[in-house]
């Protein structure tokens, strides 16, 4: 039988559940949004998964500074990569959704800007990693930058949108996503979706980490 860990099976089950229930399940019939609210299961899920992976990256960057093991740095790097992938998917799905409901691919909105800024920070992080040759130095410097930049980024994403009006659902009086607004039916699909996609992110991250370790092993021989 396929020797997969239990959480990988859980990931597969959850994602298929999301896919099927996401399309078949009942959703509230809101004006303008209509059926597109189902995109919430995927678009917002991507952002949540990205936030979780970003936190993982941050934690492992801190871990690296306290205990300089190559493993910690590898985890920090790979979780950042997968997080960036999810972030890109999140922005693309968001743009499609925006075009459909708001009429434009991009609007001047605090959350969107925060999202773009987050991807900028990630890109800068990878450019920095590429710029340093020595392995230990690279790990140390990029960990410092990661802690500095990601902390500020999280502040930027969380704090600023709350202070201003925004087109995004849940801020500035728009109906939509908040803990009190989210329909009970949608929650049944949404939370498993977040868990499923996060596990998927971790799975991909683990594969990448193993590949890197194997390459390292190969180089040393």
């Amino acid at each position: 039988m396929l020797k997969l860990s239990w959480w990988k099976w859980l990931c597969i089950v959850l994602i298929f559940y999301t896919l099927i229930e996401g399309f078949l399940g009942p959703v509230p019939a809101l004006p303008i949004l209509n059926e597109t609210i189902r995109n919430l299961y995927f678009h917002v899920t991507m952002w949540f998964a990205m936030m979780i992976l970003m936190t993982v990256s941050l934690v492992y960057s801190i871990k690296y500074l306290s205990k300089p093991l190559a493993h910690n740095d590898t985890v920090a790097e790979m979780s950042a990569k997968v997080g960036m992938l999810f972030g890109i998917i999140g922005i693309l799905t968001g743009m499609i959704w925006a075009k459909n409901t708001w009429g434009a691919y991009w609007v001047n909105d605090a959350k969107l800007n925060g999202a773009a800024a987050a991807l900028l920070v990630y890109t800068a992080y990878f450019i920095l990693r590429n710029a340093i040759e020595d392995e230990t130095k690279r790990a140390r410097i990029s960990s410092v930058y990661a802690i500095f930049a990601f902390t500020l980024m999280m502040v930027f994403i969380m704090v600023l949108p709350r202070m201003t009006d925004s087109l995004h659902p849940g801020n500035g009086g728009n109906p939509g996503f908040s803990t009190y607004d989210l329909d009970a039916n949608m929650r049944k699909v949404f939370y498993p979706a977040v868990l499923g996609f996060t596990l998927l992110g971790i799975w991909i991250m683990q594969l990448k980490i193993n590949i890197k370790k194997l390459q390292h092993f190969n180089d040393e021989q």
Partner: protein, 41 residues
């Protein structure tokens, strides 16, 4: 809303397509997983 879609049964086509897509992706992921685990040993 997409009720017309559901009446025709077309919603199942959507779900089937999406599920097939993800099944293939997962198959690839599992294949990679096994290959890497084998290499690790």
């Amino acid at each position: 809303m997409a009720d017309a879609f559901r009446q025709d049964g077309k919603i199942y086509v959507v779900i089937a397509v999406v599920c097939v897509l993800f099944a293939v992706l997962f198959g690839y992921l599992i294949y990679l997983d096994n290959k890497i685990n084998k290499l690790k040993k």
